[in-house]
Symmetry: D2
Subunit: 360 residues, 4 copies
């Protein structure tokens, strides 16, 4: 009742970190979308572990297989099943955690909720679960761009610990983002951020940060008032990503500092097009896209698994100490970028299809 997302373009992910594999079924993708394995693999490669020295060394190829719903490179309108086999899982590193709860991790809550859990590798609560999201996001992107070729979703790391990247959303170049291992929007910030990440790792510690994301050339009219406002479904999507603690759209938590006369975005005509002079709204008004860039920001906490001893309790409710093992990212931000983008694509693709029923 919980691993599904979307209203018309619906995805259902499955899989545990140390199980047979992970994957997703997409039910509701229209027929006629050009789609290849390569398009999906490309996005998975961006979230793959082992890309650089600042992320987990778990060595997974993460090869995706299209099991259904596509024939001769075109979607059939039937469910698209995508699967990735797990290969390099080393469950022995988790033996100690079988009965001991990692602080700020999902272990205790899974036990409390379900009465049992797949303890190895974090099971369903592992970041490995996001493979299904990224694979589905690639399909959503293919569908959305088939209809709106100029539509773009661009994520980048805006902050790591106390290092900030100050490039404005409208100035972010995705080629620059992909050219550095942190996925920052400029090389200097990337360098500073990677230093902070390496320092944290050296100490067995971890750091968090902020991922920003912008949607460019979004059609006007997306978003379904009142409960499925565009920003509400985006917030739902983003807060479902492991470690995400906050969401902003447009002015966000900076909004209160402005008076209404400063915050309002005045309309003007840009040729035939209604536009706004400023974009405190973040591209959404009344829950509906207005055609300006959709700008969001997401706070991520530092990785919970640490290589230093921590106080905790075990499943017999005895207080114990735990020192993490296994292979972990000292900072999830670089690999979170493709996940954030995937979730944004899922939201946008769903709203594009929902919009088809807005008018007679």
């Amino acid at each position: 009742m919980s691993s599904s997302f979307g209203s018309v373009f619906k995805v259902s992910t499955w899989g545990e970190s140390h199980g047979v594999g992970v994957g997703v079924v997409i039910d509701g993708c229209p027929a006629g979308v050009p789609l290849t394995t390569e398009q999906i693999q490309k996005e998975l490669d961006r979230r793959r572990p082992g890309q650089s020295d600042i992320v987990t060394p778990r060595n997974e190829e993460d090869r995706v297989e299209i099991l259904s719903g596509v024939l001769d490179g075109v979607t059939l309108g039937t469910p698209i099943a995508l699967s990735v086999r797990n290969k390099d899982h080393q469950s022995s590193a988790y033996n100690e955690m079988q009965h001991t709860y990692r602080p700020s991790h999902a272990d205790y809550c899974y036990d409390a909720k379900y009465g049992l859990r797949a303890w190895a590798g974090g099971g369903r609560a592992s970041a490995r679960e996001t493979i299904g999201r990224v694979a589905a996001g690639a399909v959503a992107k293919a569908m959305a761009q088939a209809l709106y070729p100029q539509l773009q979703v661009i994520g980048w790391v805006q902050q790591v610990h106390t290092v900030f990247c100050h490039v404005q959303p409208a100035e972010v170049d995705p080629a620059v983002v992909e050219s550095n291992i942190v996925r920052a929007a400029d090389p200097e910030s990337a360098e500073d951020m990677s230093v902070v990440i390496r320092e944290a790792r050296a100490k067995g510690d971890s750091v968090g940060g902020v991922v920003a994301c912008t949607v460019r050339n979004c059609p006007v009219g997306l978003g379904d008032p009142v409960f499925d406002k565009l920003e509400a479904t985006l917030a739902h999507a983003m807060l479902s990503i492991p470690a995400c603690k906050g969401f902003e759209i447009g002015s966000g938590f900076g909004a209160p500092a402005l008076r209404g006369s400063e915050h309002n975005d005045p309309y003007y005509m840009d040729g035939e097009r209604v536009r706004t002079r400023t974009n405190n709204s973040g591209g959404v008004q009344g829950g509906i896209s207005n055609g300006e860039d959709i700008n969001i920001r997401l706070a991520f906490k530092p990785t919970a698994t640490l290589m230093v001893p921590q106080n905790t309790v075990n499943d017999e409710h005895v207080e114990v100490q735990l020192r993490g093992k296994g292979r972990h990212d000292p900072c999830v931000l670089p690999r979170a970028v493709p996940v954030v983008e995937a979730m944004a694509w899922l939201v946008v693709a769903d709203h594009i299809l929902r919009q088809r029923s807005a008018r007679i």
Copy 2:
């Protein structure tokens, strides 16, 4: 496809600001919940216009009528329909806005999406729509407290423009919140905030702020990984409230400033109960409640409708100036508090019922 919320405890709101009325149907409330009109009316009275000199003077009694689903003060398990008639709408104040788009309001986007809109009073995009939410929230509260009598949801105004209220979530006293017209958590902040609000109103301007909300004595185990994590459904709920621009849980956007060793919440045993020493998690780990207080914060932008002239365009795409008329809140925060609480109750009630299917 958009005015419904919830998975098991489902609500569907309806109504335009200047139409016949507003209301809600609740489909999925279990049988056997004690419920009276007074319980619902009490919450509606808290969001009613005209409560003080710092909110809109629109004079609405907002009397709720239970149309179905309740017999002899107990729910029947059948849909509960609640309705409030509109009385004091003055559509003439909106004549000018029939064809002119208010900046940062929903007017333009509704036209772009639907091809038409109920222009008077903001139609469906009016804050009046939240009556259905508050009414449904009262039912959710009745249901949840019937099962967990200690369960509490408490909202308060934590910030108005640049005035902050520094009471810690665990220290907030709901009686204090209800004792001042701003709904701040201490009388001094309330006084300062009301000054700021009156100043804004005097200039025809508006201010925003932050509403905080805490859920106390929440049962362990609520929240459905992976997409319907407790924080994800809370974020969805809150960002669907008009004027909300940001959401935080626990450490929120403050998380990146902490290292993992500082951010992690160590477990300890408090008698029979597993607890955490700190609560950066905000009561949720792995998307599931851990029994600590659930602490969230929501940014609200300043009211879009201003009594000063603004540049905009009309529905013939001509650039014009507009000065707002009608009756508006110079600051939505005081009346947003019961709406935030209602949405929190809806989320918690839904997850309480969903949790019934988590185990065999």
Copy 3:
């Protein structure tokens, strides 16, 4: 979780027989559909009690009020709330049934399921609940015909007890159906059927029958394999009508008598149009409409409430006798026709909107 129907064009009905009223909220009707109160009232008048001497004499005007979602005779794309107040309920007639279960009625099962029930007038299990369906069906019809003006749904009474009406579906004239109090497809059958109904009523007994329904000029392509095949959603819709015990499409239970070579419908070209020589398929193949008439048949059991003594038990589980009171239809068929049509419209309207997402 149960009073909602539809995937994109979603309806939620509410109301008890002897409560304040009954109604429906439609969430998902596109903007721009011409819609008046009269269109809805006209359909409600067709299911209204007291139309003739062969139906219940309960005297209800059943005046519908549009509470939201429509402005100046056009839908807004927002939820459409429709409400009908109950007037002529005589709960005293039900005093005896407060604690005694009517055989083959819902009384016992409601108690077993919910632990309580609205005993007067059958509560939610009353046929009065179908008012919300008929009102919503009128909106679905308005929407569907705005897009496909030739689209028609025609229901009629094909059988009452052992009296059959042999007019072929393609020959049924809706004007003839509406011209007789039974809603049979020819006046002679109508006369014979009304005799049977009056005889049953005279004895305090009741009779059942078959309602047939045909959808003409249905666009090709409606229906969503695999679980929401057009016939599957039609069957769901029809079996949800009180007293319905069976559903057939096309050849139905007659299919086994034919060999494949007899049952298959050969394709041919009718000008530009692909058509079939026969229509054993009932207008649906592979779960998708093929453009031929959609022909379905529905079995209705005789009314459960009888004016003769019956053996039963009470809510203290003591065996007792019960003789029905209150006002009841000795045969539900004539008033079931508009309900069947309404459900068919709801299904067709929903699939029309769903079809908008079938192709890129």
Copy 4:
């Protein structure tokens, strides 16, 4: 938007007949259900092709793999993904059908709906799609029987063409059903039916029939009025099975022949238990199970693919003749039995979980 079924116990099937494979994701199965691959394989073996000389000779092992959601033989509460690889597909047999529409098959309608189709082996419209249903049904059965060990679902072939099996539902012995290749309820009928099937096959023709199904020891209270009545969701489930043309519950189309005084099922006390003397209701009253056997019947048309020449049209809308190739069942009934049972288990399992929210 169409390959998903269920409200709490949700399944999403995927796969084309001649694609990589077929499968299902179950989202909503509670944690703690004992579940092995063998339990699932056993049911798949019952629907497997090549079991006898009266079904298709396609040779598929149909080995199921559990990809997620189960650890150490117990469900985790997370999605359960099940997959079966296709092996013995011979697409060349379908070359002629790539552009020619088989009469009464889904070919034309898929093209009309989606603009393209997986022509080989019927693609998504193949009966092979039911593998996902049967696999999911085995999980539903495991869950339901973990809670109600006496709960049973038994299907059998009641009619093939004009040969009837007259064993009463309450007398059917599942061991007898499984002991004959037709899955009739007595050996004599089975023999007569198999003669009819072999005759049809010898002529390149096909026959249909009726599958009956009974649910024994069903808990009282299942079914969600008003739209998700138990019979409504059963009808939805059954009419979604390929080739199903009709559904009856209890008296079904026989109901009209009885007067109310004959049709009503009088209540009596059987010890502590409220029971009915007769069971024309088929175990359901007011949409809710009453504890009596749930008896349903389903009409299946003769297989559409024939080995004799038939008139049809091709995808260039030219009238042509077609003689079927490929391997087909001359009668789907024997293999439909496990599919019918699986759908019944899915419905019952879902309602068992839904019932958990019926009361406070």
